[in-house]
Symmetry: C2
Amino acid sequence: MRAPTLTDVARHAGVSYATADRVVNARGGVAEKSAERVRRAIAELGYVRNVAAANLSQGRTYRFAAIVPKGQDTIFSKMQGLLEREREKLALDRVELLIEQVEAFDPRQLADCLARLDRDGIDAVSLVGTNHPAVIEAMTLLRARGATIVTLVSDMPEEARDAYVGIDNAVAGRTVARLIGMAHGGQPGRVLPIVGAMTARDHAERLAGLREVLTETFPDIRLLHQIEGRDRPELVAARVGAALEAEKGITAIYSLGAGNPGLIEILRERSAPAPRPVVVVHELLEHSRAALEEGLIDVVIDQRPEDEIQRALEIMRRGADRLPPDPVAPLGAAIYVKENLPPEMGAKTGDD
Amino acid sequence: MRAPTLTDVARHAGVSYATADRVVNARGGVAEKSAERVRRAIAELGYVRNVAAANLSQGRTYRFAAIVPKGQDTIFSKMQGLLEREREKLALDRVELLIEQVEAFDPRQLADCLARLDRDGIDAVSLVGTNHPAVIEAMTLLRARGATIVTLVSDMPEEARDAYVGIDNAVAGRTVARLIGMAHGGQPGRVLPIVGAMTARDHAERLAGLREVLTETFPDIRLLHQIEGRDRPELVAARVGAALEAEKGITAIYSLGAGNPGLIEILRERSAPAPRPVVVVHELLEHSRAALEEGLIDVVIDQRPEDEIQRALEIMRRGADRLPPDPVAPLGAAIYVKENLPPEMGAKTGDD
DNA sequence: TGAATCATGATAGACGTCAATCATTTTCTC
DNA sequence: GAGAAAATGATTGACGTCTATCATGATTCA
C-alpha cells in the first residue's frame, strides 16, 4: 500500500509523466481535457505531492521572516529571544529565518520592511497585526506573489492575512473577571483596570470582556474607570499610586497592558500586613514572574509565546509547502499562579 | 552556504563515501582511526543527516503505535478520538499509526500488547505509564531493538522510557490549593478531596501537592480526609453525598480522579440558593464542560490531551529519525473556568 | 499543401541517502 | 614473505520530484 506517485497519476490518467507534471506545476501548454483527466486521477488516487522529494530535487531552502516590534521586557522581546532559538533548529531543516525589528506602533516602518522582504523574495512572514492602509497594501503585494502571512498577537481583517495566531482577548478579560469574582468569595468590591491605551484593540477587548462578566455575574463588584498607563512603567506607577490614594476600597487590580514594573513597584512599597487587593496582570516576563513568586501579585495571564511561535512557523511551513492550512483550535491563554510557574528556560548551554 | 552532505564529510575526513557511510550507519568493518576521523569531520562541518533524503531512498514509512486504556468519557477516550484524527494527517507524511486498546489497570495485557508490537517491528510506542515488572521487561526488549517509548499521562522510571509527556501532578495539586485558597478570600474553610485510589501515583501526588500549599499558605483551610471513589461515578455519588451530610462546613471540593459524573449529579441535586462549596475537578470532558457551563463547578484542571499527543508524536518521530530529543519545557495543565472554555472541536466535516 | 503553432511524449540529470556489490589495498598471522 | 583477514574504495540503482531539452504528433491558418 505505497502512496501514489505522480507516475501513478500519469498512468491512471492515460497521459505521460511530463503532462501530469505540467498540470501539477502549472506550467501551461496542456489541453483542458487532458488537464481535467489528470486532476481527476489525482482526486481518485488521493495523490499528495511528496514535499520532501520535491525540496530535495530543488535544493530548496525556505526563507521565512518574523517582524518583531522593539521593546524591553515585553512580550515582544521574549518572542525575539524564542525566535532566535528557533532559528538554529530551523537551519537544520533547511529553513532560513530572518528576524526583523521595527519600532512599535510605526505602521510606515512596518510597511517598508514588508516591501523590502518582498524584494528579497521571502516565502512567509509573521508580524504583529497593525491596521493601517500602507501595511495592508504591502501585505497584499506580498501575498500576490504567493507568500504566506501570519498575524501574531493582534489580528487584522481576515482577507489581509492567511492566518492569525494569538489569544482571544475578550475571553481573557472575561476569564479575569471570573477569577477576580471568585477571589471575592461573594463579598462586594471595586476593580481598578489599568490599560495601555484604549485605542489598542487588544486592550479594549480585554476591558470589555471584564466589564461584561462583572456586570452579568458579579454585580456586587464595581468596575472603576480605567487608568491609562501608556505601557510606561513610570506613568503606571504614578497614576496607580494616585488612584490608590484617592479611592480607598480597591479590592482588585487588573493590569491588562504593559508597564507592569511600575505597578509592581507601587505594590512593593505598599506591601503591608493589611489585606492587599487581588492583582492580575498580563504576560509572564521577568518582572511579573518575580512578583508572583514574591507574592505581590496573584495571577498572570500569559499568551504562551512559545506555542504561538510554534504555530506560526507551522503555518508558514505549510504555506511554503503548498499544503492547505489545517484547522486547529485557537490558542488559549495560560493562567499562572505562584504554584504552577513553568521552569525558567534560561540561558542555553552552547554545546550540541 | 549549502548544508554539508555526507560526501563533504568523506572528503574532509580524507576517506571514501563508502567509509563515511559505514560510520554513520554503523555497518562495522571500519578501523577505529578512520572512524574517529569521520566523526571529527562530522563535528567540524556540523553535518546533519538529511532525513528526508534518507527516508526517500528507503521508501521508509514509520510505524507508530499508541496504546490507550479503555474507558468511557475519560481522558483516555478523549485521547483515542484525537489519535484517530491524527492518524489521517500522519498518513500523508508516510506515518502509520496503530491505536491499540487495553483494559485499564491490566499490566499483563499491556505487556502482551507490547510484545506483539515488538514482533511487528514497530518503530515507536506511546503508553500510559504502569509500574509493573512485566511491562518494564517488555519495554526493555522493545527499546533494545531501537524503538522509542513515550510514557503518557503517568510516568515510569526514567531508565525504562525515552520520554514522559504529561503534567506534573504535584504542581496541579499545589495550583488547586492556591485557587481554592484565593476563593476563600481569607476566610477559613474545609476542603474535601476525592481520589480514585491512593495507590495511583498521580492521585497521590495531586493530594500531596494540595496538602503542602494548604498547610504552608492557607492554614485556616482544613484538609478533610479523602474519599476514595474508585473512579466510579455511582460510588463517588454515594460517598460524597454521605460526606456532605456528615460534615456540614465543607467550603471546597477537589475531585482529583475520575468518576466526576457522580459528583456532578450530587451537586445538581443540592443546588440551592445557599452558597455552595467551591468545586475543582480534573479533565475537561463532556460532563465537566457541561457542569462548568451550568455553574455547578468552578474550575477544571485539564492536561490538554491535544498537546500531549502532539508532543508524544513529535518525540516518536525524532526517535525514528535518529535525531537527539530536544529539551522542551514540561507541559503545563490548563485552568478552565466558565469563561475560557475552548470551542468544542466536534464532528469533523468528512471532506478534504 | 506547406508552414507555423500547439499538445504531448520520452528521457535525462540532479538532489542526498541507503544498500549492495566487487575490486583493491592494507594489515595481521605464522 | 605468503596467505588470510580486514579495511577501504569505487560504483550503481533506487526513492519521487523538478527542470530541461528534444522529438513527435495533431491542429490551425494561410
